[in-house]
Symmetry: C2
Subunit: 322 residues, 2 copies
């Protein structure tokens, strides 16, 4: 596909912007590879500064050993692509304070990619559409996981819940952000996305696939009809979870305990190891957090938990200056 | 599961009712086994008369050689089940004028089953819920096809578009009836539901299943957001249609021609041989009909066509008397 070059006058642009780039939950249990949801916490803090040369610089303010070569960095690669479509001698310096731990399964790489493109687009006067931004940001996911996928990128940029009906051509459908509470536990074990993908079978039973598409249809209907009970009944995954949950110690106990504590339902966040649960109120979301803590205290695995809500806005501009 | 017996006083009941039991389109392209849609035409005309003995009688007013033994009849079997849950000495005489040709793929057997239970329930003062009625009517589908399925029954009883998220336990979600026009062509060839089912592979590629659940999610979102273009883009079936369409001469030509004529999209109705297409206006729906006619004139297969709309009400009571 050919894209039109954007003409801009660098003299008119703002010079610096700070954004919050939030975590996201991909798959949403029954929507493997097509659904994602944006969280209000945790989030990375990113500053992007306009340069007067065609160059990308990455500065890391956190302790993570991520590549600073822009072509190998999940924030840098998308901006290299964006610059290809801009007819002006400009560049970007990106300072990243990563608060979403890499490998947690709540969209750490997507936050860097989405934060970078939203921030840069803000400096450029929002000349690109959200769909353009997703297209650029997917280059960051390719750097991180080897695959262009959008189920974290899209909700991070659009906010709320997004359906990626198709990647080629890109077809993103924004769904409403229900006012649920989200509890996340990140057990501090490593599950590599590539391993989590390899463990899956290439073929699935038709009868299981039918159950799965009944559930995703129910989930989308529940979100649009604001029917929390239907959302809860539809949060069932008969294909991916039975295989991937084996990689996450304590998964079954967490899930059972959280549902007994009143959670609507939940499951693996992305490819794990984080587990998320939805609740209709904060008190339940906190009881769910206690269940999660107790399981990992008992097993003896370090963990982080978050009690948060669904982020309707996606990446947010916090400050900008000339 | 145990169901409570219903107590009624036969003396207080109406004695006779006439209903229209409409055709339905199961699967809706990407919703194999879980979605269905109710049509305004064609429909069967059914009269149900209350009897004062525990007995079901079937009278056929059409030329079809369907079984008149109630246990073997798609209208009779559901009422046998219904009577099991009624604590009174009553029965029903059912007169059926079938206008939906058996084997057409637009829910002929479901119309008989759904029409019978809605009519009988009307005489009983609507003591059963729609979900109860689906439960009874599925015994008719079992007689007709050997399998209890609800993707024609549910839309015939509820009207509009229905999602059957689960059969055991039954979980039916009513979706809105968009104001689309529906064009149906029934090429007069025989495709037996059991053959159409046997031809399917028991395993499917995960990557195809992902496309399919992206599409059903898009279709449900499109129906609820009243986004006709999204409905059109989502009417894609990468799993069932490529296999089953082989049984329907002219299918590819009909589909291509109808989309060129402006149809949103469509595909096989149920297990075929009927093909349906959705359009946003009547003029397009009629052009689509011309395309269908031309294809079957050229091939030399007899056919019926219908240009109709989506039926929001399902089975309708036309007349009742004491």
């Amino acid at each position: 596909m050919e894209f039109e070059m954007k003409h801009i006058d660098p003299a008119t642009l703002q010079k610096q912007v700070t954004v919050h780039a939030p975590g996201t939950v991909a798959n949403l249990v029954c929507g493997f590879d097509v659904l994602g949801m944006c969280l209000n916490a945790p989030y990375d803090i990113m500053e992007v500064r306009l340069l007067d040369e065609k160059k990308i610089t990455i500065i890391s303010k956190d302790g993570y050993q991520l590549p600073t070569d822009p072509a190998q960095n999940t924030a840098g690669a998308p901006l290299i692509e964006m610059l290809e479509e801009i007819d002006a001698i400009i560049g970007f310096e990106i300072t990243i304070e990563k608060l979403i731990k890499p490998g947690s399964g709540i969209g750490s790489s997507a936050a860097s990619a989405a934060g970078a493109v939203v921030a840069a687009n803000h400096l450029l006067g929002n000349i690109f559409t959200n769909e353009d931004l997703v297209r650029f940001a997917m280059f960051g996911e390719k750097v991180a996981t080897g695959v262009k996928h959008a189920d974290n990128i899209a909700p991070c940029i659009y906010g709320g819940v997004t359906l990626i009906r198709s990647i080629f051509p890109l077809d993103i459908i924004a769904l409403p952000a229900p006012d649920f509470f989200v509890t996340v536990v990140h057990p501090q074990i490593e599950v590599r996305t590539s391993d989590a993908r390899q463990i899956l079978r290439k073929e699935v039973l038709l009868k299981d696939a039918i159950k799965q598409w009944g559930n995703i249809a129910g989930l989308v209907a529940g979100l649009l009809k604001k029917d929390a009970a239907l959302v809860g009944r539809s949060l069932e995954d008969v294909i991916i979870e039975p295989v991937r949950s084996i990689l996450i110690p304590g998964f079954d106990e967490v899930k059972k305990g959280c549902k007994e504590a009143g959670a609507l339902g939940g499951g693996i966040s992305g490819s794990g190891p984080s587990i998320f649960m939805l609740s209709t109120n904060e008190a339940t979301a906190k009881e769910v957090e206690t269940v999660m803590k107790n399981v990992y205290e008992k097993i003896g695995i370090s963990y982080h938990t978050y009690v948060t809500t669904i982020n309707a806005a996606g990446v947010q501009v916090i400050a900008a200056s000339c």
